[in-house]
């Protein structure tokens, strides 16, 4: 099977600091890949190069078999790379339907197109269907989403990405600031995405989450990819050693 996303030799520098140093990365359809590393390891920078926030200094990105070069985040989104940030991508003063269709509203044509009011009913029905497809149920979709909890809002963001046919989902600390039951729900949602065949890159510091949902994990340390393993083949202790730099597959291990 061909990878959906393929990164080769990616480098990103900020002045004298090399935040990402020749990283290779492949993501295959339907897998959840966790991206791990201490603060400053370069995971967020790497992800921002993929989602069009930063422009890499060197290296190539292939997405669905095509060389891509995103200059803005909206370019990446149009190709189907959705990045889900906490609270950043939803308008809390609008309802679920309005958020799912934000920027892509559906209009009716009245009097031969003289008036083009929003087709609220259609958007509401579609929003409901999108949530149903992920088996997410809200009692009332017409409330502004500020009345929803953090986990519920996260679910709306995920449902929106799925509705608009995301080909790759990037989630940056999706369970941060959530209560324990809500964290579990978000993880269940990630499981559902996998069932739908949507690959997920998951950035997280919460190792139990990572072990609960990921198929593979990649550890970064000081801008470099230090290991890449099947989640089933490793454990928390080993991963932590990679994260702090005690283990590193790219250099020969020196005997202590």
């Amino acid at each position: 099977m061909d990878p959906i996303l393929s990164i080769r030799g990616m480098v990103k520098r900020f002045g004298g600091l090399t935040a990402v140093s020749s990283v290779d990365l492949d993501i295959y359809p339907g897998e959840v890949v966790a991206l791990l590393g201490d603060n400053g390891a370069g995971k967020s920078t790497l992800i921002k190069c993929v989602s069009g926030v930063y422009h890499a200094d060197a290296g190539t990105i292939e997405f669905q078999g095509q060389r891509v070069n995103f200059s803005r985040p909206i370019d990446a989104r149009r190709q189907g790379i959705e990045t889900i940030y906490q609270d950043l991508s939803l308008a809390n003063n609008l309802d679920v339907g309005a958020n799912i269709f934000l920027g892509r509203e559906v209009q009716k044509r009245v009097l031969g197109g003289l008036f083009k009011p929003l087709n609220e009913q259609y958007m509401l029905d579609q929003a409901k269907a999108a949530l149903d497809a992920l088996e997410i149920h809200f009692p009332d979709l017409t409330q502004p989403i500020e009345s929803l909890s953090g986990g519920q809002r996260q679910a709306v963001a995920i449902a929106r990405a799925v509705y608009w046919d995301a080909k790759l989902m990037i989630m940056d600390e999706p369970t941060n600031n959530l209560g324990v039951p809500e964290q579990r729900k978000v993880l269940e949602l990630i499981g559902k995405l996998r069932q739908e065949g949507v690959p997920v890159i998951l950035i997280s510091h919460t190792l139990p989450d990572v072990f609960a949902v990921s198929d593979r994990l990649i550890v970064m340390h000081r801008g470099r990819k230090v290991t890449e393993k099947k989640t089933a083949d490793t454990d928390t202790q080993e991963v932590v050693q990679y994260m702090v730099g005690a283990l590193d597959d790219t250099r020969e291990q020196l005997p202590n």
């Binding site: 985040p73 909206i74 989104r77 149009r78 609270d87 950043l88 991508s89 939803l90 308008a91 809390n92 003063n93 609008l94 309005a98 934000l102 920027g103 892509r104 509203e105 209009q107 008036f115 083009k116 009011p117 929003l118 992920l134 088996e135 997410i136 149920h137 809200f138 009692p139 009332d140 409330q143 989403i145 500020e146 009345s147 929803l148 909890s149 953090g150 986990g151 519920q152 809002r153 679910a155 600031n177 209560g179 729900k185 269940e188 949602l189 499981g191 996998r194 069932q195 072990f211 609960a212 949902v213 989640t231 089933a232």
Partner: protein
């Protein structure tokens, strides 16, 4: 490893509103409807108190009074309409008062110029309207560009431009007033759809002003003057645009979370510029109407109306933090300000008290608005 392919239905819990007590619920409802309730009880208060203080001689609730209030709110409301859009989009437009003055001058110059050049009266007036709206829109475009493209804070950008506009208005008027306008324009600014003659030999007249003289003039009431009709038409458009269109939806989105609006591909800069263009345009209509009403252009007419219009918008429930508010709210807010002012005058209260009362109501409105958030609780604070 836990079961990862779970098919369990994700119940995202009950809506938080369903969890709050009936007491909180009713407080919440009240805080949403308070402006209506306040307007209603205020009208009631004035009906009773005006009657009592005048020993039954004066009536607050008359046709004439209601029409006077409508005429009085017309400019405040027009300034407030554009302002409503701008503030929902998390901006503010401090230039509308002086834009109204400038466009009053522009309309007067255009009408006078056209008429003197031989253009018939009605086309001259239409030219005046176009000149006023175009002038207002141009200032709005300038403001919007400063805010959206050059990232000048809206408060500063529009404060600065209001000084510029003030100077230009005074320069163009070559003083404060542009006079010498054709006589007929007074009719357009003051005639009404209906006329009512009360008492003996009276009746309702449509479109045509009945010939009355002397004492009978006191019994003549205008119903729905043209400026009120034009304003009502603009209000209807504003309600439609804000509530029913993509443009309105994007305005709320930008005010609610500009980052989200950008990420979803909404053309935020262009949209913000449009908001200020709208604000300038409605101020232009207000300037045009004042020229018709007084048969002269005035380079100072709008200055005192800026703060009243912002007060109306805030009382009507538009949040200065952006993302919340309605056009209908602004209409109620403008009505509250006008009813208060008229009522206090009829009670023979010293006019200075109007300021104190309006100020208090503005502060009260914001406190009530915030109490709503306190009750429901911000979702982020979980």
């Amino acid at each position: 490893m836990p079961d990862r392919g779970s098919n369990a239905v994700i119940e995202m819990g009950a809506d938080r509103l369903a969890d709050i007590s009936p007491l909180k619920k009713s407080v919440l409802l009240l805080s949403r409807l308070w402006a209506w309730a306040f307007l209603g009880s205020m009208i009631l208060f004035f009906i009773v108190s005006v009657k009592i203080t005048s020993d039954g001689a004066v009536n607050f609730l008359t046709v004439r009074n209601s029409q006077n209030i409508l005429v009085a709110i017309t400019p405040v409301l027009l300034l407030g309409l554009g302002q409503t859009f701008v503030i929902i989009g998390k901006g503010i437009d401090l230039s509308v008062g002086w834009v109204m003055s400038l466009t009053s001058v522009l309309a007067a110059l255009a009408i006078r110029g056209a008429f003197n050049a031989g253009v018939p009266l009605f086309p001259s007036i239409v030219l005046g309207l176009l000149a006023a709206v175009a002038g207002g829109a141009l200032v709005g475009f300038f403001n919007g560009t400063l805010v959206a493209k050059l990232k000048v804070p809206a408060f500063i950008a529009t404060l600065g431009s209001s000084f510029i506009v003030r100077g230009v208005a005074l320069l163009m008027a070559e003083n404060t007033t542009v006079s010498g306008l054709p006589r007929g324009i007074r009719d357009y600014g003051n005639n009404a759809l209906f006329y009512l003659i009360r008492g003996e030999g009276g009746g309702l007249f449509f479109l045509e002003r009945p010939e009355v003289t002397g004492a009978m003039l006191r019994n003549l009431d205008r119903i729905l003057p043209y400026p009120v009709l034009l304003t009502a038409f603009v209000v209807a458009i504003a309600i439609y645009v804000l509530r029913r269109t993509k443009f309105g939806r994007h305005t709320y989105a930008i005010g609610g979370n500009v980052e989200a609006a950008l990420r979803t591909g909404i053309p935020v800069d262009r949209h913000i510029i449009m908001l200020y263009v709208m604000s300038g345009s409605t101020a232009g209509i207000a300037g045009f109407l004042s020229t018709l009403r007084f048969s002269a252009g005035s380079a100072v007419i709008g200055d005192p109306l800026l703060l009243s219009s912002i007060a109306a918008v805030i009382i009507g429930g538009v949040s200065l933090f952006g993302g919340a508010g309605t056009v209908v709210g602004t209409v109620i807010g403008a009505l509250i300000v006008a009813v208060l002012t008229t009522g206090l005058v009829m009670l023979n209260v010293q006019p200075f008290w109007q300021f104190i009362v309006v100020g208090t109501v503005v502060i009260l409105a914001v406190i009530i608005d915030q109490s709503r958030d306190l009750i429901v609780g911000r979702a982020q604070s979980e």
